[in-house]
C-alpha cells in the first residue's frame, strides 16, 4: 500500500465525501503482456482510488480474454480505464493516469459521482446541441502541467452529450499511435481524425474547434 501519501489520501477521502453522491464504476482493462509498460502500476493506482469512497467500485477485465466487455466498451488498447456513472459516458483513459493526469482521474470521478460535468451552463447547452458523432483523442505526457485542462474539458463534453466520446492517450505508452498522429507537443487534441490543435484552450474555444471540425466534415 502507499502510492498516495497519507495526507493526500485523507484529503481525497474528504473531497470525495463532499462530491460523490452516485455510484462510480471504474472499469479497467489490463493485460499480462510484457508489452504493457505500466499495467501493474495503473492497477495499483486504481485499487488505491477505489478505497477512497464506498460508492466507487473497480471492475477489472482482461483485454486478451474478456472479449465481450472489450467490445461493449469499444476498447482498442491496454491499459484502458473507463469512468462510468449511471451510464457509460464515453470517458476513457488509455495508459497510466499518473503524474498530472492523476488529477484528471480524480476530478472525472468527482464529476461522475456528482452526476453532472463541471461546465458553465451556456457551454453545457451548446454542447448538448451537437448531433453528430465526435471522437476526441487527447495526447498527453504525465509531466505536462497544462494537459489535464484539455483532458478534463474533453471528458466533461463527453459527459454532457452522448454523441461525444473522448480518450486520454498517454503518448509515451503508445509511441506508434503518437507517431501516426505526428504528436511532438502536448496536449494535442485530435477531433474526428482530421482536425487537431495544441494547447489548453478555455471551454468555449475548445467547443468552437469541435463545431468548426463538424462544419468541415
Amino acid at each position: 500500500m502507499g502510492l498516495l501519501k497519507e495526507e493526500d489520501r485523507k484529503y481525497l477521502i474528504d473531497e470525495f465525501s463532499k462530491h460523490i453522491k452516485n455510484p462510480v464504476k471504474i472499469i479497467h482493462f489490463t493485460s499480462e503482456s510484457n508489452e504493457c509498460m505500466y499495467c501493474k502500476e495503473t492497477m495499483e493506482i486504481l485499487k488505491e482510488v477505489e478505497e477512497l469512497h464506498d460508492l466507487i467500485t473497480l471492475y477489472i477485465y482482461n483485454f486478451d480474454t474478456d472479449k465481450d466487455m472489450v467490445e461493449k466498451y469499444g476498447i482498442e488498447m491496454f491499459p484502458a480505464t473507463v469512468i462510468e456513472g449511471e451510464k457509460d459516458y464515453g470517458i476513457k483513459f488509455y495508459g497510466i493516469p499518473a503524474g498530472y493526469e492523476f488529477s484528471s482521474l480524480i476530478e472525472d470521478i468527482m464529476d461522475v459521482g456528482e452526476g453532472k460535468p463541471d461546465l458553465k451552463e451556456e457551454t453545457v447547452n451548446a454542447v448538448k446541441d451537437i448531433n453528430k458523432p465526435v471522437h476526441l483523442k487527447i495526447f498527453v505526457t504525465p509531466s505536462c502541467p497544462y494537459c489535464p485542462i484539455a483532458v478534463r474539458t474533453a471528458h466533461k463534453f463527453a459527459m454532457a452529450n452522448e454523441n461525444i466520446k473522448s480518450d486520454m492517450i498517454e503518448a509515451n505508452e503508445f509511441p506508434e499511435l503518437s507517431q501516426r498522429y505526428n504528436v511532438y507537443a502536448v496536449p494535442r487534441v485530435v477531433i474526428n481524425e482530421d482536425r487537431y490543435f495544441e494547447g489548453a484552450l478555455p471551454e468555449n474555444q475548445f467547443l468552437n474547434e469541435i463545431l468548426e471540425a463538424l462544419k468541415e466534415g
Partner: protein
C-alpha cells in the same frame, strides 16, 4: 511515478473581495497567504493552472530550504495548498479587462466580474518567440517551449536549444536525459546562466555550443528537420540538422490586458516604486511581471509578501 493533484478548484459565487490577486504563480500565491492570514477576504484569478511558470520546470535548486532541490510543481502545489488552507479562493478564469478607476476596482474575467478594494498584479511572463521564418509553422511539429511536457518525443533524437541563460541551460540538461545530442545556440558571445549550470552542462557528452550565433530560420517539410543559424562574427550561415528545437530566449510580460490602464516600461513590464506600488493607488505589482533585474521564485515570493503587507496597510487592515 508521482500522483499529482491540486486542491479541487472552486466555483466561487462570491463577487466582492477585499483583495484580488491576478495570477497564481509563486508571487500571487505568497501574497494570498499573507493577505488571508491578515483576515482579508482574498481571491486569486488564474487563467491556466496554479503554479505559474515555476510549475513547468523539472527541478528548482536555488530556492532556499530544499538542499536536494525540489520539483517546480511540487513546490508550487504546496504553496497552493497553503493558500487554500488559509481560506483563499482560487478561481480558474482569465482576467480580460480591468477598471482601476472605479471604487471598488472592477476585474472582468472570461466568465464573470469581481470587485476588490485592493489589487495585486502577479501575472508573470510567457516565453518569448524568436519571430523568425518557420517558427509558427513548426510550433508543435518540432518546436517546443516546454521541456518537461515534450521531452519524451525526442528520445534518441537531435535537438537544438536556443538561449543559454538559466532556463535554456537548465532545461537543456533535463532534455539530455532523452536526446542523443544537443546543440546550444546563444546570440551573445558568452552564456549568461549561473556558473554551476555552465559547469554542469559542459560536462555532458554529446553537447555542442554555438555562441555568438543567431537563429535565422526553422526548416523542414511536414515537421522540423533543421535550424538555420548565422555566425555573428564571420557572417557564415549553416543548417543544424535537428528533430526538435526548444526556445528559451527570454520572457515577455503578461500585461496585454492592462495596456493604457497602468504605467509600463517599453517592454511592457509594470513599473513600480520600491514599495511595489504601481501608478494607480491601491494596485500593486509583484514578481516577474514588474520591471526588475532578477526574475526567480525567491524574488517573486519576496515581492508577494511585501505587496500583501503594504496592501493590507492601505486597506486599513
Amino acid at each position: 511515478m508521482e500522483l499529482i493533484f491540486g486542491p479541487s478548484t472552486q466555483k466561487s459565487s462570491k463577487r466582492e473581495y477585499d483583495a484580488i490577486i491576478i495570477g497564481a504563480g509563486p508571487a500571487g500565491l505568497t501574497a494570498a497567504i499573507y493577505l488571508a492570514r491578515a483576515k482579508l477576504s482574498t481571491l486569486i484569478l488564474e487563467k491556466l493552472v496554479p503554479g505559474g511558470l515555476a510549475a513547468t520546470t523539472d527541478k528548482i535548486e536555488n530556492y532556499p530550504g530544499f538542499p536536494e532541490g525540489i520539483g517546480g510543481e511540487e513546490l508550487t502545489s504546496r504553496m497552493e495548498k497553503q493558500a487554500v488552507n488559509f481560506g483563499v479562493d482560487i478561481v480558474l478564469e482569465e482576467v480580460l479587462d480591468v477598471d482601476f478607476l472605479s471604487n471598488p476596482k472592477v476585474i472582468k474575467t472570461s466568465d464573470s466580474e469581481y470587485t476588490g478594494r485592493g489589487i495585486i498584479i502577479a501575472t508573470g511572463t510567457s516565453p518569448k518567440s524568436l519571430n523568425v521564418p518557420g517558427e509558427q509553422k513548426f510550433r508543435g511539429k518540432g518546436i517546443s517551449y516546454c521541456a518537461t511536457c515534450d521531452a519524451p518525443f525526442f528520445q534518441d533524437k537531435e535537438v537544438v536549444v536556443i538561449g543559454c541563460g538559466n532556463s535554456g541551460i537548465q532545461e537543456g540538461i533535463y532534455l539530455k536525459k532523452f536526446a542523443k545530442k544537443i546543440t546550444f545556440v546563444e546570440f551573445l558571445p558568452h552564456m549568461t546562466a549561473e556558473k554551476v549550470l555552465q559547469e554542469r552542462v559542459r560536462a555532458l557528452d554529446n553537447v555542442e555550443f554555438l555562441l555568438n550565433h543567431q537563429v535565422t530560420a526553422f526548416e523542414g517539410e511536414e515537421k522540423l528537420t533543421g535550424v538555420r543559424v548565422k555566425n555573428r562574427e564571420t557572417g557564415e550561415e549553416f543548417l543544424i540538422p535537428a528533430d526538435g528545437a526548444f526556445v528559451y530566449v527570454g520572457l515577455k510580460p503578461n500585461t496585454d490586458f492592462l495596456k493604457g490602464k497602468i504605467e509600463m516600461d517599453n517592454a511592457g513590464f509594470i513599473k513600480t516604486d520600491e514599495d511595489l506600488k504601481t501608478s494607480i493607488p491601491g494596485v500593486f505589482a509583484a514578481g516577474d511581471v514588474r520591471t526588475t533585474i532578477l526574475r526567480q521564485v525567491a524574488t517573486a515570493v519576496g515581492d508577494g509578501a511585501l505587496a500583501a503587507k503594504l496592501l493590507e496597510e492601505e486597506l486599513g487592515g
